[in-house]
């Protein structure tokens, strides 16, 4: 009876932890199989332990090339989407203008659209215009779908900012440019950073829109997709595991710094 009671009291925790396990299981498999030495071309069955892939992560042709393409696109897409999105966010929060509703819908729609629809329609545009598919078309597409997410992130931050701080700066004879650079921008920075981070993650991991508009360009997700047909090198798992570890370390470092700051303030 006591066991049943215990189970009843902790049912939510048990169910939650099971879900967490479901979420993390593939990452465990990816990590374990980065130390595999597969027999054939596919790395789906465990054979024996080997650290070969870790010693030579770029050992497969085109893998690291595709990684660098993805990083470049993610960098420029983040920059473009963050600048354009931040400007829109400021306009939406700080100014009154006509057609606000239409602007809001135009920003909401890309987020409520299945990726395959945006991918296909963008491809019809490029085909009709006779554009050469490649780096530039992918970059254009990435800026397009990252933009809305930046707007939402920055908007939330700017809305919570106290406008009297900027008025104070102006009362103290700061010009508009000075006020913006030394008061407004630093205040909005956390929102802009969050938007940029999101844009980078979205762009780096995007597959569907890239797949339609890349032509013969190969990004990292496209390399993985292709390898699912041709044969999956162990190096894919190495890169996947490394990205996971680096991301977790980054977050942990951020949390530690945040905690220390809090303690210093207290």
């Amino acid at each position: 009876m006591t066991f049943v009671n215990w189970l009843r009291r902790h049912l939510v925790v048990i169910a939650g932890l099971l879900t967490l396990g479901y979420l993390l299981l593939p990452n465990v498999v990816v990590t374990v199989f980065s130390f595999n030495k597969p027999k054939g071309r596919f790395n789906y069955e465990w054979q024996r332990f080997s650290a070969d892939a870790w010693k030579d992560p770029c050992g497969v042709s085109d893998l690291c090339g595709s990684l660098s393409v993805s990083l470049q696109i993610a960098f420029w897409a983040t920059l473009g989407a963050t600048v354009l999105g931040t400007m829109i966010a400021f306009a939406l929060v700080r100014y009154r203008f006509r057609a606000r509703g239409a602007v809001n819908s135009l920003i909401f729609l890309p987020m409520a659209m299945p990726e395959v629809v945006m991918a296909a329609s963008l491809l019809t545009l490029f085909l009709n215009l006779g554009a050469q598919l490649g780096f530039w078309t992918v970059l254009i597409a990435h800026i397009m779908f990252c933009l809305s997410f930046v707007v939402v992130a920055v908007k939330a931050r700017v809305m919570s900012m106290d406008p009297s701080l900027e008025q104070a700066a102006q009362d103290l004879y700061a010009g508009p440019a000075q006020t913006f650079l030394r008061v407004t921008l630093p205040l909005a920075a956390p929102g802009i950073a969050a938007g940029a981070l999101l844009a980078f993650a979205l762009s780096f991991d995007d597959f569907i829109i890239t797949n339609f508009n890349a032509g013969s360009l190969v990004t990292f997700p496209m390399f993985v997709w292709g390898s699912a047909q041709r044969g999956t090198p162990v190096q894919i798992n190495v890169i996947g595991t490394a990205m996971f570890v680096v991301a977790v370390l980054f977050v942990l470092a951020g949390m530690l710094i945040g905690n220390r700051r809090k303690r210093q303030k207290a």
Partner: protein, 309 residues
């Protein structure tokens, strides 16, 4: 993702009434909006128009396409590919329900029961994102492989007999069946359910639970009458964030499924990139878009949360 999950910011004190700026200052918002809005108009809205026009064109790749208002493409596309459409709705719907059932306990755990582990669990939910989702989807091929531990266990427990009878698995396999595709879809979009659920649960004042308890509500009653209704915004945005991408997905159906599990996304991809039948592909994509927009509008109306952004 933070679209629908972001907590509403604490409102800043109302700005003292500003005089509308005169002269050049009046144009500032338009200059700020111009580049971004232009980008969305040219690369989001205009493609939709081009797609609509392509869907009513006839012709061939060699001779070129012309707009002939050939609406029959729509009927032909629907007549030929309705099973894939049905499958998309069915798989995405099942995955969404599963995400809600699996995600709610975890979101609840993070919001109310995790204590000082809260941030750690939250990081563990988000961290998998940083491994490319294609790599993680491929990992399911290993997990569900024929003769692997999962299939073995399901076989011993005679679960596969039941799922075979239901028609969602075939033989002694899980891979290349609807079960594998739904499993992959559920896995891929689960964080999109958990995060909005967590944000809306976290906003609930725990004293409301105590108050319900003080008024002799049993835990199950408290959940039914207090917690769940208050988490509705999270449920609504979570289901949308799961269902919309899942219904257009073709990665899971391609990597974990077979030709019998193809979804509408697979058809659009094949028609566009391999068959090069642009009108049919455009028509299918247009139907998918319209269906999603109608469903989302009805759903938002019904659940009464209009201000999602």
């Amino acid at each position: 993702m933070s679209t629908l999950t972001e907590a509403p910011p604490p409102l800043a004190p109302p700005a003292p009434e500003q005089k509308p700026p005169r002269g050049r200052g009046r144009l500032v918002p338009y200059w700020l909006l111009l580049p971004g809005i232009l980008w969305l108009l040219v690369f989001f809205l205009m493609p939709m128009v081009y797609q609509a026009s392509t869907s009513v064109q006839t012709g061939s790749l060699e001779e070129g396409y012309k707009v002939t208002w050939h609406f029959a493409t729509y009927w032909d596309a629907l007549a030929e590919y309705w099973p894939q459409f049905l499958r998309s709705v069915l798989y995405a719907g099942t995955a969404t329900v599963l995400c809600l059932l699996l995600g709610y306990p975890l979101a609840y755990l993070i919001a109310f029961r995790a204590g000082r582990w809260r941030n750690v669990v939250l990081i563990l939910v988000i961290a998998p994102f940083f491994t490319s989702f294609l790599i993680r989807t491929l990992a399911w091929k290993t997990i569900l492989s024929d003769g692997g531990p999962v299939v073995g266990a399901l076989n011993t427990l005679h679960v596969l007999d039941v799922t075979n009878w239901l028609g969602i698995t075939a033989g002694d396999r899980v891979l290349a069946t609807p079960l594998a595709v739904v499993c992959g879809l559920t896995y891929n979009f689960l964080p999109f359910m958990i995060l909005p659920l967590y944000t809306s649960l976290e906003r609930i004042d725990p004293r409301l639970h105590e108050a319900a308890g003080d008024l002799y509500a049993r835990p199950s009653t408290t959940f039914r009458k207090v917690t769940f209704p208050l988490s509705m915004p999270g449920v609504v945005s979570g289901t949308l964030l799961t269902f919309i991408p899942a219904s257009g997905d073709y990665v899971n159906a391609e990597l974990l499924g077979s030709t019998d599990t193809r979804m509408v996304g697979n058809v659009i991809q094949t028609q566009f990139l391999r068959v090069l039948d642009y009108p049919t592909a455009a028509a299918l994509s247009f139907i998918l878009m319209a269906a999603i927009l109608i469903m989302v509008t009805l759903y938002i109306r019904r659940s009464g949360t209009e201000d999602l952004v």
